[in-house]
Amino acid sequence: MQFMLLFSRQGKLRLQKWYVPLSDKERKKISRDLVQTILARKPKMCSFLEWRDLKIVYKRYASLYFCCAVEDQDNELITLEIIHRYVELLDKYFGSVCELDIIFNFEKAYFILDEFLLGGEAQETSKKNVLKAIEQADLLQEVCGLCPR
């Protein structure tokens, strides 16, 4: 996977994860282009589209679009599955997740993503393990937060 973007129906970026080194300028251009392209598509259209030399896989969950860019040879369906798994993870962690959860706890959304994917490849396929790792890390964080400064 090359990158993952989360954006709202209004085109506001909610989360972005880049697994390829690109300059800020390029990133901005890509995400702007992509958000426009995807928002222009009708709801019943296919979830996959060819874009530049990449394949874009996206899916809409409520008001949020989840969008991944994969290479030409990668499988679209498994990418869709990855998106869905990520949504499930967010859902489990936040408890029926909504857009505001991701806006206000965006660092947590990143931490979950980082436990699930690493370098653009699925790292842990067990939902239980991902959440366990996050919970333990969170616990560590709370404990640390209480440490005397």
Partner: protein, 975 residues
């Protein structure tokens, strides 16, 4: 001081945290930019404070702003500060910020090397975890080189959480620093059998990604993956493995046979995701190319997949079926497919079904009667785009197979009679194209018609005028042919001549409708024929028998012309096709000329029969229209059997692109065989200079080819190349000596190319030892321009960058201010690890004082002990006992006397100094294990009693074992 801390935390209470920032931005919808710029000012203030919590909070907010598109590169150094916080809470935020904001050109990344290394070796697995996660986003070639070894060690970490992350990140490291692949590969391979499923899946992921790019190097892993495929229950892993086999099967045909069984099982299993099904079918289609028989036996299963509710799976299955058709099962498969045509929902899928049926039959139909009836049956389909295709197939069969003409004509007559069913709803209905074929067949082979009169009547119905122009034209022309046949029948019979006259009258009544047609072609033909019929009627009224002569107008058989026929005509001697016949005409002229010559080719026959009035002056619009009509006509002309619209399009496309990449066309048909592998090997051996030469050559060839093609088509413009020239594109477009190399397809910057490293057979395998040297400046002056050099021995060589001579030194990438120390790493390649060795080296540097600078030199020796070739490798007790039982290991023992330290200290010493790990410990007895970089196993059994330690050791390399034992002895004698 205490007050300051209290003040700090009170300040913090009033600082905005992330939530406040987000809320604020949402509340300032109108002046968002202004609000954010004040926030950024606040953040800048916060970053200036010493309190790390404040800083982390600021960095967290910056990360959010970065996502909104604000430039935060100015805070890169602060991010590094937060990253290096000892508290996980802040470290986590720091790494997150870094992974979002850093990229290769961020210069502070250089500063992070040591911090990341520290975090990687942190006792807290979550510290290591965030470091690995962060690194995966911003790893640079430098970081990859410096940290490869640390990450490699983490691949054998005791915690699976770390192992899986380390394994995954290795892929990124390989991409940035390909040299690391070879030393890391054995360990990566080991991870395929890791007891933890997460780690295993990570390893499968990485190897699949590697293998997909350079499958040849990973063929030897096929048995291992095969085992995994049959044993794994993790669908994610299965998907990756199936994908990997997809890449491997073209290289190793024997794999195909073995794969069929497990793949079938996968498809059968209800449990698997539908994706697995999809991929399984995809893999089968690859196997089909090499092992058609083994796939064919699963025909029923694949037919079942046609009923799947997912369209993608149906399409895949269809694709597969297409490849499986043989003489025997053709009828059965087509019959099944026909059933599906009726059931199919969604036009795309149905059209796909239709083309596949036609494709299958056109290539392999042996029973033409049956085929015609299938085609007729297909015309029942509404709203398909492929009327064209069906029409051309009908023409093809009817022209080529004399025996079935009577049958075909009868079928076509029925079609014409029921034309209203086909044209029923809309004008756009593509299926009406078949009427074109039907009319032509009925006209051309009218002698087979049972009731020619009825058909003639059907063809002249007023409703015909609603059909597309090119079809009407064929109707009119063939009505004339039918007319001739009808006349002959009527005149031959002794009936009265009025019947024949009535027939003529029918035409005279109906044709004016077509004469009024807005379509020029129809108009022209209709008026010609109308005049002809009127003249015939006059003759009939004088009781002249005309049938004979009218029939003569349509005499002669139309033979099918093979598409390649023109090419087979030898060029007569002395004829140079490359020479211009006339001076190259200007643009518009050549177009006109081209049109004329095309007109001749296409209508040659018509012109000889009817003296068609030639328009000398037609306005531009009409010209264009006529060209369109002719083009359509040409596409449908039964002379040109394979001129289906799609192939025409392809042809035109390829002509208009003067230099289609030769490798592109090659790929279309070149079998992926051993030959390819061989060529790939050859390619690798060619050096870069050679490559350049080849490129030049190719350019030249392309030039030549261009000229040659122009010669072929003469002075015609591009579009006007008649279909007779249509040859197999693939062969024509290919320069004779083009090399099938994949150089051209691949981006030269593709990082995967560098990873094409043969991992199995390298006769002169070098093993790497990384030497980490800490330079400390103990003097009061500034030290710079350090150069590190070692005198290579036969066995050990310092790895120098490409292009450097064997005696050149390596520049140490930093300068040392007084009192500072820093670490640099040097890589040595070692061939033989049995003996310890010492290397002599020198370090040259410049000492800079305020007023002068001197060049100085320091000699040193590098001692490579045998221990330094050992890698701490954990070993499970069952694997350990198996190893000992195998009997491959040779023994040796050692006694140490007067050791008075606790047993666990002693073990820790051996572990620390000699890179062993404890396998099992029972009381005063312990088994230990280690492995050399060349894969020698080394086992120790350590026992202690009364200050005497006895070590029984076993290793498959006795020389190495002896030396390691000597070194252990030395360690204990020093304490």
């Amino acid at each position: 001081m205490a007050l300051k801390i209290v003040k700090g935390s009170i300040d913090r209470m009033f600082d905005k945290n992330l939530q406040d920032l987000v809320r604020g931005i949402r509340n300032h919808k109108e002046d968002e930019a202004k609000y954010i710029s004040t926030c950024i000012d606040e953040i800048k203030q916060e970053l200036k404070q010493d309190n790390i919590a404040v800083k982390a909070n600021a960095v967290c907010k910056l990360t959010y702003l970065q996502m909104l598109g604000y430039d935060v590169s100015w805070a890169a150094f602060n991010i590094v500060e937060v990253m290096s916080s000892s508290k996980f809470t802040y470290k986590r935020i720091g790494y997150l910020a870094a992974s979002q904001c850093f990229h290769e050109s961020t210069d502070v990344i250089m500063l992070t090397t040591n911090q990341i290394r520290k975090d990687l070796s942190s006792p807290n697995q979550y510290d290591t975890g965030v470091a690995l996660t962060g690194l995966s986003c911003f790893v640079t070639p430098d970081l990859a080189r410096d940290l490869a070894n640390d990450i490699m060690t983490l691949m054998s970490h005791t915690k699976p959480y770390i192992r899986k992350k380390a394994v995954l990140i290795m892929y990124k490291v390989f991409l940035k620093y390909p040299e690391s692949l070879r030393p890391a590969f054995p360990r990566l391979k080991e991870k395929l059998e890791d007891p933890d499923p997460g780690v295993q899946s990570a390893a499968v992921n990485v190897i699949c990604e590697l293998a997909r790019r350079n499958p040849k190097n990973y063929l030897s892993l096929a048995p291992l993956f095969f085992k995994l495929m049959t044993s794994s229950t993790n669908n994610w892993v299965l998907i990756k493995i199936i994908k990997l086999f997809g890449a491997l099967t073209p290289l190793e045909p024997r794999l195909g046979k073995k794969l069929i069984e497990p793949l079938t099982n996968l498809i059968h299993s209800v449990l698997s995701l539908f994706i697995v099904k999809y991929l399984g079918l995809l893999a089968m289609s690859k196997i089909l190319k090499t092992h058609p028989k083994s796939v064919q036996s699963h025909k029923d299963l694949i037919l079942q997949c046609l009923d799947d509710k997912d369209e993608s799976i149906r399409l895949r299955a269809l694709d597969l079926l297409y490849g499986m058709v043989s003489k025997k099962n053709l009828m059965e498969i087509v019959k099944k497919l026909m059933l599906h045509v009726d059931k199919a929902e969604g036009t795309t899928y149905r059209d796909e079904l239709l083309t596949k049926i036609i494709d299958i039959c056109s290539q392999r139909a042996y029973n033409c009667l049956w085929y015609i009836s299938i085609l007729v049956e297909l015309t029942r389909l509404e709203g398909t785009r492929h009327g064209h295709l069906i029409a051309s197939q009908m023409l093809d069969v009817a022209i080529r197979v004399k025996a079935i003409r009577a049958f075909a004509v009868a079928q076509m007559a029925t079609l014409l009679d029921n034309a209203h069913l086909l044209t029923g709803n809309t004008q756009r209905n593509g299926i009406c194209e078949v009427l074109y074929a039907a009319a032509w067949i009925c006209g051309e082979f009218s002698e087979h018609l049972e009731e020619p009169m009825a058909t003639l009547e059907a063809m002249l119905r007023p409703k015909v005028a609603t059909l597309p122009g090119h079809i009407q034209a064929v109707y009119v022309q063939n009505a004339a042919k039918l007319f001739a046949t009808v006349l002959r029948g009527q005149e031959g019979a002794p009936a009265d001549s009025t019947v024949a006259q009535e027939t003529s009258q029918l035409l005279i009544d109906r044709l004016p409708l077509f004469v009024q047609s807005s379509n020029l072609e129809v108009q022209e033909r209709a008026s010609c024929i109308l005049q002809l019929v009127k003249y015939i009627q006059k003759l009939q009224q004088k009781d002249v028998e005309v049938a004979e002569e009218v029939t003569a107008l349509f005499a002669g058989e139309l033979n099918p012309v093979a598409p390649k026929a023109q090419k087979k005509v030898p060029v007569p001697e002395g004829l140079d096709l490359d020479v211009w016949i006339n001076e190259p005409p200007s643009g518009s002229e050549s177009e006109d000329e081209g049109r004329k010559s095309k007109g001749k080719a296409v209508f040659a026959k018509d012109e000889s029969r009817h003296t068609k009035p030639r328009y000398t002056e037609v306005d531009e619009k009409e010209l264009a229209k006529r060209r369109e009509v002719r083009k359509a006509e040409q596409a449908n002309n039964p002379f040109y059997i394979k001129a289906s619209p799609s192939s025409q399009k392809v042809r035109r496309h390829s002509v208009s692109k003067p230099n289609p990449s030769p490798s592109f066309s090659l790929r279309l048909w070149m079998p992926m065989s051993d030959q390819y592998v061989k060529l790939e090997e050859e390619r690798r051996e060619r050096n870069k200079a050679d490559k350049k030469k080849k490129k030049d050559k190719k350019k030249r060839e392309k030039g030549e080819k261009g000229r040659r093609r122009r010669g072929d088509s003469g002075p015609e413009s591009e579009e006007d190349i008649t279909p007779a020239h249509m040859v197999d594109i693939v062969t024509e477009e290919m320069p004779e000596n083009a090399l099938p190399s994949d150089d051209d397809d691949k981006d030269p910057n593709d990082p995967h190319k560098a990873l094409n490293i043969d991992l199995d057979n390298c006769p002169l395998m070098d093993y790497q030892v990384v030497v980490s040297v800490i330079f400390e400046n103990k003097c009061d002056s500034f030290i710079k321009s350090m150069e590190f050099n070692v005198l290579d021995s036969l066995n050990s060589k310092l790895q120098r960058p490409d292009g450097a001579g064997p005696h050149d030194g390596l520049i140490v990438p930093f300068q040392l201010p007084p009192g500072i120390s820093n670490e640099a790493r040097f890589i040595f390649s070692v061939q033989n690890i049995v003996m310890p060795q010492k290397l002599k080296g020198t370090l040259t540097f410049i000492v800079k004082t305020d007023d002068s600078s001197t060049h100085e030199k320091l000699d040193f020796k590098l001692h490579f002990t045998c221990t330094s070739y050992l890698i701490t490798t954990p070993c499970y007790s069952d694997a350990y006992s198996k190893l000992l039982e195998s009997g491959d290991l040779k023994g040796c023992s050692l006694k140490l006397e007067g050791v008075n330290q606790p047993f666990h200290h002693l073990l820790a010493r051996i572990c620390f100094h000699h890179h062993f790990s404890v396998v099992e410990r029972i009381d005063s007895c312990a088994s230990m294990y280690s492995r050399s970089i060349q894969g020698h196993h080394m086992c120790l059994l350590v026992k202690t009693a009364d200050q005497t330690v006895s070590i029984d050791a076993k290793c498959d390399e006795p020389g190495l074992l002896g030396n390691v034992l000597d070194e252990i002895k030395l360690t204990f004698s020093q304490c």
